[in-house]
């Protein structure tokens, strides 16, 4: 069965510092991969997605993610974090049959001034 692991439950970074959120998936083939962000009390906003092609994908708000097949990973990065990036981040995969997403447990990001 497909699964997604986000090993970090909570990360705190200083404003202006770089960020990397980890995501590992378990799936027999190459899945479709997503990162979503959720601000407190709100729905999920799509940051970026990977279906095929260039393994480094650019998203909104200055985020990027890199797909590494050998490591079954799809880590999210941002070179300089802003206070407004404080939120919860979810990695998700889908095998593509119905588009049903399987989510990781999420990583909560706190930003220190």
């Amino acid at each position: 069965a497909q699964s997604v692991t986000q090993p970090d439950i909570h990360i705190t970074v200083s404003e202006g510092a770089s960020l990397e959120l980890r995501c590992n998936y378990s799936y027999g083939a190459t899945p479709y991969l997503f990162w979503y962000v959720q601000s407190p009390g709100q729905g999920l906003q799509l940051l970026l997605k990977y279906f095929s092609g260039d393994t480094l994908v650019q998203g909104i708000k200055g985020f990027e993610a890199e797909f590494k097949r050998s490591q079954s990973s799809f880590n999210l990065r941002k070179p300089s974090v802003h206070w407004s990036d404080a939120a919860e981040y979810f990695c998700a995969v889908t095998p593509g049959s119905q588009g049903n997403l399987i989510f990781g447990k999420g990583t909560k990001l706190s930003v220190k001034p």
Partner: protein, 112 residues
């Protein structure tokens, strides 16, 4: 452009009372529709999805049901709420045949 609306945003209901959460999508036809629940500490769980009017698939047996009376309308219901039904409910949609899912703003349900 496509938009998704979900209501009510917040709901406090007593145990044993009924539930109806509604979701509509605008700007697209024949979307796939989804209901997810986000309970504290448990991540996001797919409850139901629908590929067309009257076609509902349930992912998890539970106290809830879903209906799709119109192409772009998806309703989550319960006849008698349980305390364990409390959580954040998210409606979502995707284009038929595509793999990107877009979420509504969610509905907070507290069962007391």
């Amino acid at each position: 452009s496509q938009t998704i609306h979900q209501w009510p945003a917040t709901l406090v209901q007593p145990v044993g009372s009924p539930l109806s959460l509604e979701c509509t999508v605008e700007g697209t036809s024949n979307p796939n529709l989804y209901w997810y629940r986000q309970a504290a500490g448990r991540g996001l769980q797919l409850l139901f999805y629908s590929v067309g009017i009257g076609q509902i698939s349930s992912e998890v047996p539970q106290n809830l049901s879903a209906s799709r009376p119109q192409d772009r309308q998806f309703i989550l219901s319960s006849k008698k709420l349980l305390l364990s039904d409390s959580g954040f409910y998210l409606c979502a949609w995707s284009v038929l045949g595509r793999n990107t899912i877009y979420f509504g703003e969610g509905s907070w349900l507290t069962v007391v």
